[in-house]
Symmetry: C3
């Protein structure tokens, strides 16, 4: 939190917005419409919260032009209030004060390359021929295997593992517990026993990507697993070997993408979605929560699967009928024909 704060008009000028009301009003922080106090900035993006605007005690609010008249306090007017608020809120983030330099408890292979201005936290381990580029930061307990690259200004929050041959672009942000570059799940059955298919590829992550906590991205079998630029992956997501994900695609929590699937650009993959292996999804595909994709998709749009939630007793009756669905459909067809013939 800045103690000095920002005047409303200085925020307006900084972010190219209009302002309404007292431009000298001082902003010291940000909060929700319901929780904000004087001195705090809030925002109205979703019309459902218009009622909360009327009762807010916020010092100022970011909103669309059409809502300005209803505001009980000074306002910043933005075409996209959520985006404008996000930019302003970033001023109030406490920067994590990771000092540059290598903590003495870190264990670094003599054949690793650590650029200037890098921060390596306590208990990190960095393997042979791996390079940590300028300005990158490794929080406590990160393990970087051999032949990896952590790009310029990338940040590994804590306890991140890059197993081997993982290359992260500039400004990539990886949350705790994520495991990148583990063996893909490659097996072949031979005489009644599994044999392991060697996983000789790597993982390549473009710039400005974010990888969530405890998410797994396996390395490729022969080629690399690849994420484009500005790809955003939430927590506990499974990404199999040789998957390719296009720029600006976002994948919500607990989704799973099986090996060799190709996902386009600007896709929105909902929470818990499953995508089976070797499929192709074109650009701009939106999948609602928990959908399962078993065929390739070549037309942009929104897709879903699943059945609606019901009280269990009713659901059980309907679910039992699902087993008869084909038989019921055949009967309808036949009745129809009989009636016409009659």
């Amino acid at each position: 939190m800045s103690t000095a704060g920002f005047t409303l008009h200085s925020l307006a000028e900084r972010f190219g917005l209009e302002w309404v009301g007292d431009g000298e009003c001082l902003i010291h922080g940000v909060a929700t419409l319901a929780g904000a106090q004087s001195g705090q900035l809030s925002f109205l993006a979703n019309p459902l919260y218009r009622r909360e605007l009327l009762q807010t005690r916020a010092g100022a609010v970011v909103l669309r032009a059409e809502d300005a008249a209803a505001s009980p306090c000074p306002a910043l007017v933005a075409k996209d209030p959520y985006v404008a608020f996000a930019r302003i809120a970033a001023l109030f983030e406490t920067p994590s004060d990771t000092p540059a330099g290598i903590h003495p408890s870190a264990v670094i292979d003599p054949a690793a390359l650590i650029d200037a201005g890098v921060s390596v936290g306590p208990h990190c381990v960095i393997g042979a021929r791996s390079r940590i580029e300028r300005g990158a930061s490794l929080g406590p307990g990160c393990v970087i295997g051999d032949d990896c690259v952590v790009g310029v200004d990338a940040r590994l929050v804590a306890r991140v593992t890059l197993v081997t041959r993982v290359r992260l672009g500039a400004r990539v942000l990886v949350h705790p517990g994520a495991v990148l570059g583990a063996d893909g799940f490659g097996l072949a059955m031979d005489g009644g026993r599994w044999i392991k298919v060697p996983q000789l590829g790597g993982v390549v992550i473009g710039s400005d990507c974010e990888i969530g906590a405890n998410t797994c991205i396996d390395r490729g079998a022969l080629d690399d697993t690849r994420l484009g630029d500005d790809v955003r992956i939430d927590n506990l997501v499974q990404i199999g070997h040789n998957v390719q994900i296009g720029d600006h695609t976002a994948v919500a929590g607990s989704a799973a993408i099986a090996g060799s699937a190709k996902i386009g650009r600007y896709c929105l993959i909902g929470g818990g979605v499953g995508i089976v292996g070797h499929l192709t999804l074109c650009d701009k595909v939106t999948l609602t929560a928990r959908s399962l994709v078993t065929h390739s998709i070549d037309t942009p749009g929104q897709y879903s699967s699943g059945v609606p939630l019901q009280e269990s007793r009713q659901w059980r009756r309907n679910a039992a009928r699902f087993r008869q669905l084909d038989a019921l459909a055949r009967r309808i067809m036949k009745d129809n024909k009989d009636n016409k013939d009659a």
Copy 2:
């Protein structure tokens, strides 16, 4: 294991139970009906296992009054045998012998507060302004960021991460690999690129909660993510930013709760359940395994979704008909009308 053991009547007195048969019978441990040997205590709670009672070689059994006559061995009689057994079994747990004190390999910020009687294991890291309260225990490899609180007698088993602004109540138990307080998945699309919405809130966990292995609980965007008291979360569960979960609710493994959902008290969330964001579930909602909740629920009860498992060939025929379900329903309506008109 106690080598001295406990007499059956001493257990009865200690836990307020009746006993039947030889009260001097010595109990040295606990086991299943099928696996127990003499000197071990077993239990019968589920009537399905009555047959196993008849054949058990246990030294004694905890059971309901109605099953006492059938027991081949001395018995403790309890209204809820599972609860009574759980309490007795706790006598035979090997306490993990974590010594009080701070391991010399731990790295602790000078601005952290470590109360008396705290155990901090090898390779732990504790950040600025974080407080570890009396009797709390951090196993090996835990990372506590800045501005966190680990409550009185809380226990972090090993490799737990509290990222920032995470406050755990008294006696909270967190299993290995759990990540609390990572950034929520807050994104806004701006001119074809994602911008990150700052995540300025924290995580507040009440007393007596349990958080499973590799589970993720993100910190709030503006307000906090909040769990009440006695909330029990299993492994690999995803809990998004600003979720609220009421007291005594239990969430089974691999479930996922999206951002800003509000879950009531005494809810039972089954394994793999998905709950989409911004919904409200009232108290005492039970969701069976793998259900997906896409609307708020305001009536206590049991809810389900999904379709039953079938042999794949049959399933494929039925699933194909699902695509025609609306058309089939319309035809039925029409036939009905035609028949009536005829």
Copy 3:
């Protein structure tokens, strides 16, 4: 990568294969049909890729006899080209050069047993009465609790946690972030509060198993959780307490198996599958991706559940009808009867 390389005929002899074309052709590495250069070996197993065979620039290819004539380059002929390729590719794996010996930053209980030829990486912790057997390797940041066994030549890649009473067989491979032996999710409701059921069992993993990144396998409540030999588990899989899994079964990513389920031998559990507790699956059951199993299965074969993906607008209409499925079915039955009666 071997710089010397292997002649095609030496590979043929080593792996008991036939060869076609120039047996002196030198192989330095492996690649896909599309990506291979001269000096690299590729393979054709899936007939879908036959077109890529015609255009490959690979130095040689492993394929079935029936495809040999079409090959533009020398070939190794195998009954199962994928298996043969997997064996050959292993020659080109870079061995991770983990030196034998104990890193000075590792913290080892005086009552632990470390056999000869063991590698213990930086920042590992090993508890009392645990044994690391001959040739086993613990990568950086592994935490081994009390009373565990890491079998001969087993490999824990990095940041693996064995909580307590976990016994791994020979050659078990565990990927980063996996947590074995955490408390099972055992709870009993008593007077409006949860009480914890002690988890006194352990985890027993047979020989030649593989456990994926961030996967969780809980320890048993009274008996052990058990995996047979050659069981292969992918990433982010949840395995509850007292589960039993038979030899040679494979479980794909993000699947979840609830407590006390018994899975047979040679089962193939697809990605994201859910299996509810206390069920039994016989040998050789295949479950397609995301299926939910709510009843025991006693006949080998392939099983599925779920409904197909559709464009959301169509899907919504069909899904709404699912709520009426039982009513529609009753109407069909009645119409049928009415028509017959008429």
